[in-house]
Symmetry: C2
């Protein structure tokens, strides 16, 4: 059994995107009425959007189950306010729920949160509870920078976020720390903002006692942990200079990296330096990079292939990263029917 | 001959820091008078500050020459205005000049620029010319985010920066793209802001035709290129999806990474994926990480040791990264007496 912990519904039927476009065209104008409205998508449209993409790739690549969430770059928390983003999140999450109901063996849901810049994360609790308790979701994506590239909200270690963490702990769900699009011209979304956010989040956690307050809080840092494994010596040294515990201890039951690293030398480095208990298999598919690597003849994001090719990786470690670690972090997986 | 292209005067005598403290205490108050003032430091104080640190490390580690610039984290472009930062830069650069005059075989200068958030980079040209033409400096450090973590100035590929690039090309000096401290609580300076800036700069360059306008402009991205080598497959794939040239071609005569990566697996990855013509030896010493790695018994930032230990690295590649590439990029090195 191979579980991919990081898949996005980037291939959703056009009607979803059109809803958001209409909503944002009205938002902030006299036409704006804070109403949820409807998104008309048929089951067949959902099937079509997945059969030729995520489902085909699951079959071809040999993954069984994808932990599936709305398109991260489209969350766009900086584009609306708490109301607009709530309606948008609800539609996105409802669509993920329909995907998981149509293909319960292939997908399990992780929700988008109705964050907005400067708005307390408490406003996300109702949607998180609804998604977990009523729609069977097993986690959430938490945007550490709802401003979309200006980083104007407090760090993840600030008490600002505590009410949401309390609810996550109560519900026993992890968060993947995942930014959305960037409205800052300095940051390319998938090429800079995503990776920077991963690195930033790790360094915030390294410097704080957040997990003393929340010993069972689990956070997944995607995209292979940003720059962290490549600069593992730098972070080990910084932790030491700052009088912090060793990285393995800091991460142990709380911080996990996924394997969304799109070449074999990068994956090898990740597996070499980061504890095997803290790595979750993932491919981000269909994600930031869609092409085929002319050097290998395979998709850049076919990360399972890189891992399968590493001959020094033992069977117990493979079992951990492809399945057991994911089951440990997304512990509500076990409650599925 | 081994040249370290990235050293900072982090051990400067206290009087320098005290000058800046006094200056910033006055800045913005009715006491503020835009005057340069003086920094009293004796030659013996300079000698003392180096003998026990950078000079000792050069001897111990077997590097001959360090390309030396003011402490990056203290540039603090976000703390003053163009005037205050000009006086501060002048003092910092003059001190580097004194270091290089006292130890001409050990150090060669790279200057700090008097940038300020929202101020056109044209205001840096006079100081750059002075440092290069009169003080014998061979490059500059360019801060891509003078706001100190809010990224409110235009990307490096914007015409905003062109007058400075024109002068750099005319003077035949490269810039190391190096942020300073962070006033954004989200970003730890050396653990997040530095690495994020490196990744950000690379992605800006990947998406632009800057080097069509400036075919001889040379930019050094420090700290091993941020997250880029670890995510080399991601960047190759993004370039391909965006219809951009292959990375090796994008970088060829214009973009270079240093070797400030503080563990062997990271250095190996860098040397494995990035073209040997685009890597410059560096240690950032005395820099972000000062401790001794208990696993190796050596300083984390003793990067030469990691490179020396890599048995698959050929002599021609070693010669390139320890010397020839540095001489190529910092071409005014050859004009030294």
């Amino acid at each position: 059994m191979t579980i991919d912990c990081h898949g996005h519904y980037t291939t959703a039927p056009k009607a979803l995107e059109e809803y958001r476009k209409r909503q944002l065209a009205d938002f902030g104008t006299p036409r704006w009425a804070p109403l949820k409205g409807a998104v008309a998508i048929s089951d067949d449209q959902i099937r079509d959007s997945l059969e030729s993409a995520q489902l085909r790739m699951q079959r071809e690549r040999g993954t069984d189950l994808t932990i599936f969430s709305p398109r991260a770059s489209a969350m766009g928390h900086h584009l609306g306010d708490a109301n607009a983003n709530r309606f948008w999140s609800e539609h996105c999450n409802e669509l993920i729920h329909r995907v998981c109901s149509l293909y319960p063996r292939n997908f399990v849901g992780v929700c988008q949160l109705p964050q907005a810049p400067g708005v307390r994360p408490d406003n996300c609790i109702a949607e998180l509870e609804h998604c977990v308790n009523e729609l069977g979701f097993i986690g959430c994506n938490l945007n550490p920078d709802p401003s979309g590239g200006y980083w104007t909200d407090p760090p993840l270690t600030d008490r600002w976020w505590y009410p949401l963490y309390e609810k996550m702990v109560e519900l026993d769900v992890p968060a993947m720390i995942h930014v959305s699009g960037s409205c800052n011209p300095n940051f390319h979304a998938t090429g800079a903002h995503y990776i920077n956010a991963d690195t930033t989040a790790f360094m915030q956690l390294l410097g704080s006692d957040l997990f003393r307050d929340f010993p069972t809080l689990k956070l997944v840092i995607p995209h292979g942990g940003g720059a962290v494994p490549y600069h593992w010596g730098r972070y080990r040294g910084l932790a030491q200079d700052m009088g912090r515990p060793p990285l393995a201890e800091l991460m142990r039951d709380n911080v996990y990296f996924d394997t969304c690293v799109y070449h074999r030398p990068g994956i090898e480095l990740l597996l070499k330096v980061v504890p095997a208990d803290n790595i979750l298999f993932a491919s981000e598919m269909v994600g930031a990079v869609r092409g085929i690597d002319p050097e290998s003849g395979h998709h850049y994001d076919d990360t399972k292939r890189y891992i399968d090719a590493i001959d020094w990786l033992g069977a117990p470690e493979r079992e951990k990263l492809f399945r057991r670690n994911v089951e440990k972090v997304y512990s509500r997986l076990a409650r599925r029917g």
